[in-house]
Amino acid sequence: MKYILLMSGTKAGVDTYRAWSKKDIDAHMAVLAGINRELTESGEFIATQGLAAPHEARVVRGLKNGMPITDGIFPESKEFLLGYWIVDVATPERAYEIAGRISAAAGPGGIPTHMPIEVRQFAIRPQSPDRTEQES
């Protein structure tokens, strides 16, 4: 079963992170790198990506003539995707366990961030709830 683990945060949250000391950031990244390594060894790792800072985000809509309309204005409460992991696991519980470990990664002063991680399964194709066709 493929799951995506989404790490999101508001602009204020990202600003807090940017104020971390280099030592705290390095320690945090070392934990995440260790988790990636373990997932690779267990054969559960598929991909991980980090996204650029939220102030570079743009919302795009298409006009009838196909021209893009871009807009960079978001509400303060907007949660921006910061990064994600894609894992292939035997059970949802295993996906939650991995998300829990990411959430427990050390933040400032070595204290776990307890950052919420959203766990979502992939769909094979667009579907409605009564036509569920999950990848297994």
Binding site: G50, A52, V60, R61, P68, L81, G100, I117, R125
Partner: protein
């Protein structure tokens, strides 16, 4: 430059989507398949995925002992990721053009959906954040 194009929607948007007619759904899916094929042929396609329904989403936090604490309660205003494309293009403008095409995907009655697509650059390494 790698970009991720994200389709996001609130639960209310998903409920609306669930009521689309079979014909509208098929038209939309056919568009997406053609769109993906074109991205492929243009050499910019890296990945695309659709996600399962929001009611299956779980929020996980680590407990004191590192055990996962799961919660499936989200505010009404919460934006759920519905699906995404990862593309590799030369300029941000090219990413916006492609996002606009995804936004114009047909909705009910074949009219362009004009769905907002969030465009974000994907980092090749953490040092790109400039911290």
């Amino acid at each position: 430059m790698k970009y991720i194009l994200m389709m996001l929607g609130k639960k209310a948007d998903w409920d609306e989507y669930a009521r689309w007619s079979k014909e509208d759904l098929q038209r939309n899916v056919a568009f997406m398949q053609r769109f993906n094929k074109e991205l492929h042929e243009a050499g910019v396609f890296l990945d695309t995925k659709g996600l399962a329904w929001p009611q299956e989403a779980k929020l996980v936090r680590a407990g004191k002992n590192g055990e996962p604490i799961t919660d499936g309660v989200f505010p009404e205003s919460k934006e759920f990721l519905a699906g995404y494309w990862v593309i590799d293009v030369e300029t941000p403008e090219q990413a916006y053009q492609i996002a606009a095409r995804a936004s114009a995907a047909p909705g009910p009655g074949g009219e362009p959906g004009n769905m907002p697509i969030e465009v974000r650059q994907v980092l090749s390494s953490h040092s790109d954040l400039g911290l």
